[in-house]
């Protein structure tokens, strides 16, 4: 089958994302790892855009790049003294972790190609964002409330744990 432009774009974005993922897990400098992480988040957000999930695209940029990556950079800087001098970033079990991860990847890809997914052709709902909002206050109202309480408790707990005593 001929490769379409959209597929070339997809391949470029995925190559970028996976490259950034490699950077995150192999970079010796923790700060560089954090920057690679920003790149990986950006690549994933582009994938969301390709999947026509616009709301998730924006949420990914705001929450992951804007908040979580910034938080990680803050944490790196607050505990900086320990990071910069040391060059060995891997622990003694990195070899076996690499083997296990690679095997898991091979297994996952093998399983993926065995299954015939019931793919449906069709356009997404034209007002998907309104549908998401509606789903949150109708079908998923209980999980929505639970997750908001979880977030509140987690943030209060984070402040309690991290505050100066």
């Amino acid at each position: 089958m001929p490769i379409t432009t959209l597929q070339i774009v997809f391949l470029a974005i995925s190559a970028f994302t996976i490259l950034c993922g490699f950077g995150v897990v192999t970079s010796r400098n923790l700060f560089h790892a954090a920057l690679w992480l920003v790149g990986a988040f950006a690549g994933v957000s582009a994938l969301y855009f390709m999947l026509e999930a616009e709301f998730l695209f924006i949420a990914q940029v705001l929450i992951y790049i804007g908040a979580i990556a910034t938080l990680i950079v803050f944490a790196i800087m607050l505990s900086r003294g320990m990071m910069m001098g040391r060059t060995v970033m891997r622990n003694y079990q990195w070899g076996i972790s690499a083997i296990v991860s690679a095997l898991l990847f091979v297994l996952l890809v093998f399983v993926l190609f065995q299954i015939n997914w019931p793919v449906v052709q069709g356009a997404v709902s034209p007002n998907a964002i309104a549908d998401i909002g509606e789903a949150f206050v109708t079908t998923y109202v209980v999980p929505f409330e639970v997750v908001s309480i979880l977030l509140l408790v987690a943030l209060v707990g984070a402040i309690m744990i991290a505050r100066e005593r």
Partner: protein
């Protein structure tokens, strides 16, 4: 449109990279970064399945938003724990943090 399997392969690759990072890093913050990669991979899967198998519905995206919220909570608490440990033990090296070891 790229086939569904392509998205799943990218997500699997990202998941395995995150798993490797979470298992092999010494630094607690680097482990947390690996976990973030894993959660992103899961979200790609959720949205891809939602897009390809039930394009008219938003279930996949709704689940991805729940994962996003839990990931944000996890990052906040995890980093707070790391800061607290750094204050009391003066290290974020996971091999030195063995308070619970018998």
């Amino acid at each position: 449109m790229p086939p569904l399997n392509w998205y799943l392969i990218v997500a699997a690759a990202l998941f395995c990279l995150g798993l490797y990072g979470a298992l092999s890093r010494r630094n607690a913050i680097a482990v947390l970064m690996g976990v973030e990669l894993i959660l992103n991979a899961v979200n790609i899967n959720l949205i891809a399945f939602g897009r390809y198998i039930q394009p008219k519905q938003v279930t996949g995206q709704v689940f991805a938003i729940f994962v996003l919220a839990v990931a944000a909570a996890e990052a906040a608490v995890g980093l707070a724990l790391i800061i607290a440990i750094y204050r009391t033990r003066d290290t974020v090296n996971l091999e030195d943090i063995d308070l619970l070891k018998g």
